[in-house]
């Protein structure tokens, strides 16, 4: 765990003097009538593992392809390491991409695929051989050097694609849904391998994914995109615990929303009221645009909703009764759908800490849901 502390202290985005390694400067990209990327600006720092996250059609892949040079922005400039690369064609850019389809050349062996980029640079033969051997070792495919792509499994192909895009030691590695074709278990393992690799090589990685779990796992920072715009750019923890909007809260992880009216809104104390949840609602975090009398939403993650059969001591604040409507036992956790008296369904998840519980909560149980004041976030959008 030697890398742990290093990772934690890595936060150039908080340093006002840090220089952006990749800079998107007011980028707009239109395809005919359709605007794929809409006046977007973004800084990515050196050695960062950066994720572009969003639903399909949100513009994340277009943004990545503009960095690779396959698309030209309609407006705005792209900078890499201080140089304007907007007009540099893909084959002259010091970035390499790992394609969603892997795009392995079917008529070349694994070796030849990995050597392809090096040959384009006219690297001496001996050095190419050494680098290819090194790459094969890095992705643990030494035994498969002579095979053709169609003689490999999905996971092996993915490794070849990775080795090929890393062989040239690019300044930035772009990954377009790199694990989309793998099954769930292999995905999980590969995510950790990618992280280790990025640390080991000290490269900047930009990954495009629609899988929020994957983005959370691998990246230092996540940019959540929607309809060609950035919705929120921050670390996984901030995005999860302090989402800036209902869109982000809903896109990442599971969440309960309560539509309510703002009673008071001060620096660190928000009070809301609603017919749907029969309790006073108090939260310590939220959007300061909230004004008394206006509508806002309380967002609470299910795991922060405590569920109990016994009535809590203080039921005046952040506490509602209900009936268990559905139970999903997932092994590590259980998820309860609780129906409030108003008819609203609220989700609560509980970690199963012990193997056997004396009296498990089950269907039709009368239960109490409660949450601490710092559990929820008040959102105005």
């Amino acid at each position: 765990m030697a890398t742990g502390p290093v990772k934690r202290s890595f936060a150039p985005w908080e340093d006002p003097d840090a220089k952006a390694f990749i800079r998107f400067d007011n980028i707009t990209k239109r395809f005919g009538e359709f605007t794929a990327v809409d006046d977007l600006s973004l800084d990515i720092y050196e050695r960062e593992f950066f994720a572009l996250l969003g639903p399909s059609g949100c513009g994340k892949t277009t943004l990545l392809r503009m960095l690779a040079g396959f698309e030209k922005p309609s407006e705005g400039r792209v900078f890499l390491d201080g140089h304007d690369i907007t007009d540099v064609p893909p084959h002259r850019r010091p970035v390499n991409m790992m394609f969603q389809s892997y795009a392995l050349f079917p008529h070349m062996s694994v070796e030849k695929n990995i050597a392809f980029g090096l040959k384009q640079d006219r690297m001496p033969k001996g050095e190419i051989a050494d680098r290819v051997a090194e790459m094969l070792k890095l992705v643990k495919l030494e035994a498969f050097a002579r095979r053709r792509p169609d003689q490999l499994s999905g996971g092996q192909r993915q490794r070849v694609a990775l080795a090929r895009s890393l062989a040239k030691r690019p300044k930035v590695l772009l990954l377009d849904e790199p694990l989309g074709a793998l099954d769930k278990k292999l995905r999980g393992e590969t995510q950790f391998e990618l992280m280790d690799l990025q640390m080991e090589l000290g490269l900047t990685f930009v990954i495009v994914t629609h899988d929020q779990e994957e983005a959370m796992t691998v990246s230092d920072r996540i940019a959540v995109m929607n309809e060609g715009r950035l919705v929120q750019v921050s670390t996984p923890a901030v995005i999860y615990e302090t989402p800036g909007s209902r869109y982000v809260a809903g896109f990442i992880g599971d969440v309960n929303f309560l539509e309510a009216t703002v009673v008071t809104a001060e620096d660190d104390r928000f009070e809301l009221t609603s017919d749907k949840w029969a309790t006073r609602i108090v939260a310590t975090a939220g959007d300061h645009r909230a004004e008394p009398g206006e509508t806002a939403w309380l967002s609470i993650r299910p795991e922060k909703m405590r569920i109990s059969l016994d009535q809590p001591e203080d039921t005046s604040v952040n506490c509602v009764p209900g009936e268990v409507w559905d139970v999903a036992y997932l092994g590590d956790i259980s998820i309860y759908h609780v129906k409030l008296d108003s008819g609203e369904i609220v989700k609560s998840s509980v970690t199963n800490l012990t193997r056997l519980v004396e009296r498990p909560i089950t269907w039709d149980d009368r239960v109490w849901l409660s949450w601490p004041r710092d559990a929820g976030v008040v959102l105005t959008r």
Binding site: P89, H91, M97, H107, S165
Partner: protein, 304 residues
């Protein structure tokens, strides 16, 4: 009869019908051609001897077999006309195939790069001439290429040339005719292999530092190789035996084996010799035809 054996009998009938037809009308005729190529020409009906009949019994049959000879083949190889016809057919077909490839590749490439919505129409436009008569398409060129033809009229009226060019009745006209007639045979397999190609392969090559023109040679061409090979066979093999094009567009000096065979058969009425010509032509083509068949079969197995 239970269902299983009914279906077995059905399968056998399904197989036997086309099999028997092809045996009788495709394979058997070749054997007859081979037998007649060993016979001598006579003034009779049919104009060759010996003819096999069962009237003379076994001994009569043996007599007939004894009369067979390789004389026709010996004659073929001693006469420069035939040897030159074969060589010139191979040369004309070979050069034409290269020309068709060079002209067909940009067309197929353009089709494969065009927007998806256009492609069915473009494909249709390539196939449509294939449906119109071969003879008519060759005939159309006579009107264009002749001394008083449209091309000469056009060139002279624009002042590019002063005297009419002689194109018709030369080998150039034959090349034009073959290229024109066989172009769809080249474009279709090329298009099929180019259209299937994953565009991200080209992007990957660019991304790894390969400039676009080089990408074409390093990625696109090798990946379209099956299409190139199929197209070349589809053009080369029939072009070697082509009759209509050299006969209508070529001159008296245009030697092609299909034409020689036709003349030998219809003008000289030498059936045994034309059979020998056909047998040798088949032997020349048998290797490319076998390769072509093999490819077809492998392609089919790959698809299923």
């Amino acid at each position: 009869m239970n269902g299983f054996s009914t279906s077995r009998a059905g399968r056998l009938i399904v197989r036997l019908l086309p099999y028997a037809w092809l045996l009788v009308f495709f394979l058997l005729p070749f054997l007859i051609v081979f037998k007649i190529s060993l016979s001598q020409v006579t003034l009779a009906i049919p104009p060759y001897m010996p003819t096999f009949d069962l009237v003379g019994g076994i001994s009569g049959l043996m007599d007939s077999v004894r009369q067979l000879s390789f004389e026709n083949y010996a004659f073929l190889f001693s006469d420069r006309l035939y040897v030159l016809s074969y060589l010139s057919s191979l040369q004309i077909a070979g050069i034409s195939t290269l020309l068709v490839l060079m002209i067909g590749y940009p067309i197929a490439y353009g089709m494969a790069r065009s927007p998806r919505a256009w492609r069915p129409t473009l494909l249709m436009l390539v196939i449509l001439p294939f449906w119109t008569s071969f003879l008519i398409r060759v005939y159309a060129w006579i009107g264009i290429l002749s001394r008083e033809g449209l091309l000469n009229n056009f060139l002279m009226s624009t002042g590019i040339i002063d005297a009419p060019l002689t194109i018709l009745s030369t080998n150039i006209a034959v090349y034009i005719g073959i290229v024109y007639s066989y172009l769809p045979f080249m474009v279709l397999p090329l298009y099929a292999s180019l259209e299937r190609m994953d565009e991200s392969l080209l992007e990957a090559a660019n991304d790894l530092g390969c400039p676009p023109p080089k990408t074409f040679w390093v990625i696109t061409v090798p990946l379209s190789l099956p299409g190139i090979v199929a197209g070349c066979f589809l053009v080369f093999i029939p072009a070697v035996g082509e009759f209509v094009i050299p006969d209508l567009l070529g001159g008296s000096q245009t030697l092609m084996i299909g034409r020689t065979l036709w003349a030998e058969f219809f003008n000289n009425r030498d059936w045994p010799l034309s059979s020998a010509v056909a047998v040798i032509l088949l032997l020349i083509l048998v290797i490319p035809i076998m390769i072509f068949q093999n490819m077809q079969q492998r392609q089919q197995e790959k698809n299923s």
